[in-house]
């Protein structure tokens, strides 16, 4: 199946996910690229914060997209594409975490970094959202503290809180992604928030 003649890259951006998926299922390369463009950041961000290793997260993100694209024929348009891809990404991360729960955070660089330069190169890039250097430093420190605190949560709490407050997904979609009852998702998020507050307070003290 080919896109309509007027469907170029800018037209592709206006299409809904499920429409792009139809073109992808027809083997259109631009459609695959469009789906990657839309979801590479949210999927990668979720995976980095789940597994806490940037290089591993990139492998898992690639694996997630390959799984999704290889099974694109079986996509059910009755569901949101975002739910589907987040579900696969989360399951991929949980599989890895079950095999081996890393015991430290890669915020300051990948665990296998041998030198300071390598560690810096693989460290998470926290963008500056503030104006002055002092604000930037404070934002970086707060961001680092929150990332560290999130990494100490149980994987189920981690998935829930990241999807809710970092990716901004509604409770109902999180329940769909994680195959959990809505009430359980709310409970996990409330507990995760309480744990995070305790951890952040302990870090500040």
């Amino acid at each position: 199946m080919s896109p309509p003649p007027e469907t170029g890259p800018t037209e592709a951006e206006r299409l809904e996910d499920r429409e792009v998926v139809v073109f992808a299922a027809g083997g259109e390369e631009w459609a695959f690229r469009e789906l990657v463009r839309r979801y590479e950041r949210p999927v990668f961000s979720l995976l980095v914060r789940m597994v806490r290793d940037r290089e591993l997260a990139e492998d898992l993100a690639q694996e997630t997209f390959v799984k999704v694209f290889n099974a694109i024929d079986s996509y059910n348009p009755a569901y949101k594409f975002s739910s589907w891809i987040f579900k696969i990404a989360n399951n991929t991360a949980i599989d890895v975490l079950r095999r081996k729960e890393p015991d430290f955070l890669a915020l300051e660089g990948a665990p296998h970094a041998a030198t300071a330069a390598e560690a810096e190169a693989t460290a998470l890039q926290l963008s500056a959202r503030s104006e002055s250097p002092l604000d930037e430093l404070e934002a970086r420190e707060l961001g680092s503290m929150i990332e560290a605190a999130i990494s100490r949560l149980r994987p189920e709490y981690r998935s829930c809180i990241l999807l809710r407050h970092v990716e901004g997904r509604p409770y109902e979609e999180i329940a769909e992604i994680l195959d959990l009852p809505l009430g359980t998702v709310k409970t996990y998020i409330h507990r995760a928030r309480n744990e995070l507050r305790v951890l952040l307070r302990a870090t500040k003290e």
């Binding site: 083997g27 390369e29 695959f32 690229r33 990657v36 463009r37 590479e40 950041r41 949210p42 990668f44 961000s45 980095v48 997260a57 990139e58 492998d59 993100a61 690639q62 694996e63 997209f65 390959v66 799984k67 999704v68 694209f69 290889n70 099974a71 024929d73 079986s74 996509y75 059910n76 569901y79 949101k80 739910s83 589907w84 579900k87 696969i88 998470l124 890039q125 926290l126 963008s127 959202r129 934002a139 707060l142 961001g143 929150i146 990332e147 809180i161 407050h165 970092v166 901004g168 769909e176 992604i177 195959d179 709310k186 409330h190 928030r193 995070l196 507050r197 952040l200």
Partner: protein, 194 residues
Amino acid sequence: MHHLTPDEIDRWLEQALPEVRVAHLEGCDRCAWEARETLALTQAMGALPSLAPTHGFADRVLAGLRSPAAGTLPAAWRRWVPTRRRAWALAASFAGLSVLSTGIATAWALANPGLVAAAAGTAQASVVALFDTVRTTIANQLSLVPWGDVANALTAQPLQLAAFALLAITSYVTLLVTLWNLMRPPRRSYAPQA
């Protein structure tokens, strides 16, 4: 009046809390503190940066799809296509070793044509002799069977014949189903559940 529940604090964050409960929030230090803490935390989490994979990520994903023509493979076989760089490195190592060993064997064979020809001749003679032995043995055994008597005996006992046929068919089907289940890759649904 009761303190705010976690659900109500969520609704306050979404600016959807009824006025009556907002009034309680304004007059209750405990709920106000709880709400402020939750707001600060959720705002800080919402401000966490969006992270991007390294340059060329989309190309690597598409290369993964094209690798051993993953798109043209039957779905059951696609799971065997490596999707991680480490798995690809391992697969490439095995492929490299295979090519290397084949190359060495070919070079050795070309360097020793006489030896190879002798070995091939011996092997061919052995295979032909073995084939002849098997063929002769089977033919001899079959010629010894009194086929007419067997046919008469079977038609004289139709119930036993039917029972034997049923048993044979059941065994055959069971064997096929078992083999199918053993060889079938595990199925995994990625579609969200309703």
